[in-house]
Symmetry: C2
Subunit: 687 residues, 2 copies
């Protein structure tokens, strides 16, 4: 077995009573969830390093807005200096290198999400986009970004009046053959680029998406351009640009989200990212359709990389939130009998409120770990120009998987963070619980990188196409087999709920087969409604809009839950034996807890008509909550980052809840002093 002594032991304390009864070793589970000992070591190395650095110390009071941005920028600079990426990684395979970068991102995100966003956008997404959208002539930007860190970049796509619908962007880049430049222009404030992370205060360049117009007046659609924004030595913006910061937000205030208007701003012709199309010196537009597999791979990466990163981060936020709430629940007592107070964790209601989210934290982590691997391999193969069977179908399937899973995970983590805060009562409302910041910083993920509702629709489109093919007896275009069960459509339709005891439900078989039935029914239900709307004479778009509520929305959610189940189940089966029982219990708890949310559809579709189905599924959920209780503190020990990173007075690993709270209160600067503004409000008689 691997030596896990690099993971520090947990301090003894009030949590021991629960830890001592665990069925497994929490360090082994931690490794199993990480999936790779080198990556886990890297995380601990980063955390140890940053804990020692005063620049990364936590602030008991949120610093002023501008100071948050300054600290974040300095932290990024410092992380660059630490060079956490091992040198050999620069020559490693794409998938290995990317997985390492993703791990660094996770480690940094759990400490300060603003820094990880700044780093991801400003360095990694930008440099990857240069490789995938650009050509040799853009290597100088790549080197300046990733090697010399002279460039801090941003992405300018969204406009004030247009978010999700990229076709309607109004910023133009018109080619001027007389100077061999593109003239970038913003017609009005509604077309100002906005929500551009790093743009408000710091970036030196932006990757701009604008309508490319040739001298003959033809609009060739959105293209990417590298546009200089600020003098790197003075941080002054260049003339011709109106750049500002969008101001305070609900969270991630270390990120300087900016807006920008271009006033006939000129950039060299070579700044067009010209992998798929170029404009010649004299102004002729030329498409290059070479290397279709590379183009598909690039498309896949550009669409998915950010969203996969967000899902990884959601796993981290979810893990931190439930860890705090479970440790609090195990140390906080309330009411009781015979003079003994009962820890919250012993109450069935409290278990039910939290344990489903803990199970989700484990299942999502296993799912995304495995899915990331599949995805990176696919990009690597296509980037390398290897022939990949059904590549285009695989890209569509991955896009559907990501488009349904990003909503599931981001909303799941948001709900968990809220439940965790409520489960910690008033104390959870303190900044020192860290639950507020975890929640607020996570929150934008549900509407950025594709609004969750819009993304779900894209997954729904793909699912319906597969269903229509399966119905017609044709092959399903899903090389990753996520809807392979559609081949069994007739048999699945005939299935029904057959269980007499909760034990019959607490199995992967029951859960997976019920999910397959449910997916088939939701597909049928959605398809029929869609056909009925079309038959009324509605357009395709109108018909689809009328099928969103209760249909596409539920369908794509259930599909994403199904993906998380089949991927995590495969992962669990490869884990060491000691961990199997607890992982299987968490799997079943998560699966049934999710099914509980689809009981209406199970009844409506006729999977069962009796009262037993709801009763058994719900009883099974409660039984599983009770069964995992003895392990749950050790499960969150496996999920939680070290105390310094978790940064919560309620969730420290020593379990000394009130001592930690006391320390948090007493260590505030000036806590026992009279308020400095007392003269402004006395005498009280005038109050």
């Amino acid at each position: 077995m691997e030596d896990l002594s690099f993971i520090p032991d947990l301090p003894s304390g009030p949590l021991d009573v629960y830890r001592n009864g665990a069925s497994f070793n929490w360090k082994r589970l931690k490794l199993a969830l990480e999936g790779d000992i080198d990556l886990l070591k890297l995380k601990y190395k980063i955390w140890r390093t940053l804990e020692k650095d005063p620049l990364f110390a936590h602030h008991p009071v949120t610093p002023p807005l501008e100071e948050q941005k300054r600290i974040t920028q300095l932290q990024l600079k410092k992380i660059n200096e630490y060079k956490f990426i091992p040198k050999e990684m620069f020559n490693a395979s794409y998938s290995k290198r990317t997985r390492t970068i993703m791990t660094i991102n996770e480690a940094v995100q759990s400490l300060n999400p603003s820094v990880s966003v700044k780093m991801a956008i400003g360095i990694y997404l930008f440099s990857n986009a240069l490789l995938s959208l650009g050509t040799e002539r853009h290597l100088k930007f790549y080197e300046a970004t990733i090697k010399h860190r002279e460039i801090l970049a941003s992405f300018a796509l969204t406009e004030i009046a247009h978010g999700s619908d990229a076709r309607l962007m109004r910023t133009t880049a018109t080619y001027d053959p007389s100077t061999k430049e593109f003239v970038v222009h913003t017609p009005d404030f509604e077309a100002a680029k906005c929500w551009v992370g790093n743009l408000g205060r710091t970036c030196t360049h932006t990757l701009l998406f604008a309508q490319l117009i040739t001298p003959d007046g033809t609009n060739h659609g959105l293209h990417g351009f590298v546009v200089p924004i600020r003098n790197p030595d003075t941080l002054e913006t260049y003339p011709g640009l109106t750049v500002g910061d969008m101001g305070e937000k609900i969270g991630v205030n270390g990120i300087d989200n900016g807006f920008i208007m271009f006033n006939n701003y000129r950039i060299p012709r070579e700044n067009l990212l010209n992998r798929t199309a170029d404009v010649t010196e004299d102004g002729t537009y030329e498409s290059s359709f070479s290397e279709p597999s590379r183009i598909l791979g690039a498309a896949l990466e550009n669409l998915s990389a950010g969203r996969i990163g967000i899902m990884q981060e959601s796993c981290q936020s979810l893990a931190s939130a439930v860890s705090i709430a479970v440790r609090y629940a195990a140390t906080r007592t309330q009411f009781g009998e015979r003079g003994r107070e009962t820890p919250l964790i012993e109450y069935p209601l409290h278990q039910w409120r939290l344990f489903g989210h803990v199970a989700a934290a484990v299942i999502y982590r296993l799912y995304i770990g495995k899915f990331t691997y599949v995805y990176l391999n696919m990009v690597e193969k296509s980037n390398a120009g290897h022939r990949v069977d059904n590549l285009s179908e695989a890209v569509s399937e991955i896009h559907a998987m990501v488009s349904s899973s990003k909503p599931l995970l981001t909303w799941g983590a948001l709900r968990a963070a809220q439940q965790a805060r409520e489960a910690c009562g008033g104390h959870g409302y303190l900044k020192s619980s860290n639950l507020g910041d975890i929640r607020s910083n996570h929150e934008p993920t549900v509407t950025y990188e594709g609004d969750n509702n819009v993304l779900s629709q894209q997954a729904g489109n793909w699912l319906l196409r597969q269903y229509e093919a399966a119905r017609a007896g044709a092959d399903v275009d899903a090389p990753l087999a996520s809807v392979a069960f559609l081949r069994d459509l007739p048999r699945l339709r005939a299935a029904a709920f057959r269980a007499a005891r909760t034990a019959d439900l607490k199995t992967p078989d029951f859960i997976i087969s019920t999910y397959r039935w449910l997916l088939c029914w939701l597909l049928k239900h959605t398809h029929e409604k869609n056909e009925a709307e079309l038959a009324k004479g509605l357009t395709k778009v109108q018909a689809r809009n009328n099928c969103q509520v209760y249909r596409w929305k539920n369908l794509t959610k259930v599909y994403a839950e199904y993906l998380s189940l089949i991927f995590s189940l495969e992962a669990i089966e490869t884990k060491e034996k000691e961990l199997q029982p607890v992982l299987m219990k968490l799997f079943c708890l998560y699966g049934l807890w999710c099914l509980d949310d689809s009981l209406v559809e199970l009844y409506q579709g006729g999977y069962s008509k009796g009262e037993e189905m709801a009763r058994l599924i719900r009883d099974a959920v409660l039984e599983l909550c009770s069964e995992v209780k003895g392990d749950i503190v050790s499960v969150v020990d496996s999920l939680a980052p070290p105390d310094f990173v978790l940064n919560s007075a309620l969730g420290k690993s020593d379990g000394k809840l009130y001592q930690n709270l006391q320390k948090a209160f007493f260590s505030q600067p000036g806590v026992f002093e009279r308020t400095p503004w007392w003269r402004d409000v006395v005498p009280s008689s005038k109050l």
Copy 2:
């Protein structure tokens, strides 16, 4: 008809297209929702006054923590100076006076919730508590608080290690006959009083709840004491006290929530609030059981007043949140066909996401308006010593109604605020949308003044008792008739879903009768489970704990929804004719939207076995969304406070979305200047 010209007309703009099609006059609906023209005039007077006062100007960037507290204290002082309470109110009836104070609270809360909390705790709840718990000897405190405003008070009940379970509080007040004083003492940090609003920085006195111990060593349980905390002229805390502020919170940071430890701190014997019990000079404990109706009235008031205030505030927050989101949805376009972009409000999914919450905002407002009236009359009668039939039963029933409704309304407003923010996409994440602050400031209501989960259990206890009585054929002890339907238990049990078209569902009859069936089934389901657990040999407490999930929890939620329906329906029937159609549509939408959430129980209980029930209920919800669309902008005009109060760049009444956003961005101090800390982070080559 009343002259409503004191309500300013709304500016013409892009929202006109929706406003012009409304079926009613929005000012009439606004008056109907307020219920009293004088109170509505008072609100507008307060808002007009504060809008002109620079002390109440909004800040584009959240001020530093201490500055928020300072501003809040100054604002309270200023509001006191404005003397918004008409002089004649001091001699008006209890219910009239209290309704006026509540209206002032609502008006202030929608502008700055910290000020209204500070005022409610520091002045009104304290002075009311003096009247209900104290005697003549405490009138000096009353006068100093309400008339001269020399006292700013706080309430010290919760301790660090004990929140909900008041019996286990450990702070003691031991009587010392030698000096005729109580000696107040905190044994350790875990017994420090905490979450005491106004205590951290400002209050002069606290109403302390401590275990009263007589010289013979007997503990007589929790009693209330008036305890001086700070010198009103210097704001210095008195020796013997360790007082501090709890630090930053998720929201309401204008409130200085504090903690306090008493070190054998002495207060005069007379500071005991001695309406129900006293300690004689020589140290004898004496109960006084006179005036039972006044005692019950006092108990009712002390338990409920704060919670009713929270429900009123929840209505305000909910109204503001949905107003912003609906105005945004009517002015923001996205995608579309034939070159024309579609306003978000035209999408069925977007309607479904928002309109149920809009309907809830109207229904809750009508419900709480009517309920407040019932409650105030009850307290008034009992305070006046009038004989009230079944007073004790009525007090229990009101307590059950409040205990189930406070969770419904506070969670409902929280969900709405979150949905509103998501429905505004990224722009909703800006501080300038105000949705973040509305949400964060509202959030503590779900765990304070009785944690929602704990409160629900109390309502559940009462409901089960009524069910058991009804089952045994006995009378139901519910003078307010909230469970009068239990008399029809046998008939209700036999009811079933009978509807063939959505039109059959869109009626109060269908909704109310379905709710009654549902309540009966949930009562039966919960009762049976409880009996089964008891039969296993569990204690009462254990049995109840095992019945919380899916049973008590759902039961009390459904009961509260039912209350909101029957009270609001009664209110709607008294409103003017022009308003009836839109109010009835909103009633049906709200009712069916809530029933959708109980479909599992409707199936499980066998109300119907077919697929039609879910389909028809859900189709009816979608039809109603489409039917209210033409009115919805005017509905939110009736719900929304003036622009200054709403304070949202996305939700201004002129509908000039992008001009308002541009103004918000461009008016930030230094928005176009280079960041002041640029030297710290250049040259970028070192980034």
